[in-house]
Subunit: 199 residues, 2 copies
């Protein structure tokens, strides 16, 4: 079922994918023609039909911008199991999975939000200052969760630890001591993800 693409065909497909990603809508046939300096719309139509025949996209007849990309065939961010010498060859065996950025934030109906980390209290858990942490709001949490809590009016990110009848907010930095939870405390949510960007 899966058929290989020529270099040119791949470029056409990639152009469409870029447009969808950047402008949130597919290009028209004439926009594609313009990009590749084709003087005939027929050329593009032939490409589209070919790409459709090979299963890379689906066309809706007589609709404007009716190119539906088949997502499983799109260039995505592959998670590689192993890297070979030279330029990273994307051989089939090496691809462990694909990264889906959308699913980082899970469901759309959940009110996920992000916080920028201040301070080094979770540094031993790999949460560095200036990292972004994604938070799923929830009022209860389990022992060992990394949570965002409000204590004495201040936001803090810590491990949640329960021992016998007591609960603690525990930093991941031996410079700081655990905080016994008493009053003036509320849980904001659970840290579900950490994101860091370099430069």
């Amino acid at each position: 079922m899966k058929k290989e693409l020529t270099e040119k065909q791949r470029k056409v497909l990639q152009f469409i994918a870029q447009r969808v990603s950047r402008e949130n809508r597919p290009p028209t046939i004439r926009e594609i023609a313009q990009n590749f300096k084709f003087s005939s719309t027929g050329t593009v139509r032939d490409y589209l039909r070919l790409l459709q025949a090979k299963g890379y996209l689906k066309l809706q007849a007589k609709k404007a911008r009716a190119i539906e990309l088949i997502s499983e065939k799109l260039p995505r961010i592959p998670i590689l199991a192993q890297v070979q010498a030279g330029s990273p060859v994307l051989s089939y065996e090496a691809i462990e999975d694909y990264l889906d950025l959308k699913q980082l934030a899970c469901r759309e109906d959940e009110q996920i939000f992000a916080l920028r980390v201040k301070g080094d209290s979770m540094i031993e858990a790999g949460i560095m200052p200036e990292d972004l942490v994604l938070i799923r709001p929830q009022l209860i949490c389990e022992n060992g969760d990394i949570i965002v809590a409000l204590i004495d009016g201040e936001t803090t990110i810590k491990y949640f630890r329960r021992q016998q009848r007591k609960a603690y907010l525990q930093p991941a930095n031996n410079k700081y001591a655990p905080i016994l939870i008493k009053d003036n405390f509320s849980i904001i949510g659970k840290v579900i993800s950490v994101i860091r960007k370099y430069v």
Copy 2:
């Protein structure tokens, strides 16, 4: 500049946003009319112009499906500067920015890929085992970059350090010693991002 929407106007905007999200392209005027059972395209056009005037979207004249949503007005993942008590109220002042997952991987024409981290050699840089690191392939790098390199046939993530005429791969873990770069060495790319998911 920012003006409030009526219930109906909000529903029209929401419908457009849903279509963009689900089908990766905006609806046509007639598709909107059909959804809301408007018998005239003029009705929809009036809504669109109104929404444009209020800053919720931008129309491109005489183009099909040319509705560009103004993203800052759409529900996204907000990066909060401060969190208030109770459920996180998304007050205007608290929102520092919005998280754009797409821009994590930068340009699409770059062959970004991801690796799952094995081992604890970069743990003091906040890169933990099982984290995903996004890699931008490049053959040269600067002093201090965190890079993925192939040394003696093995993939490794380290700091790249240059001193006088020598270059080292330096772990971020004092259990391990820096590795002097000699032969059998090639740079795969630079670590541009770190992503961690809990549960």
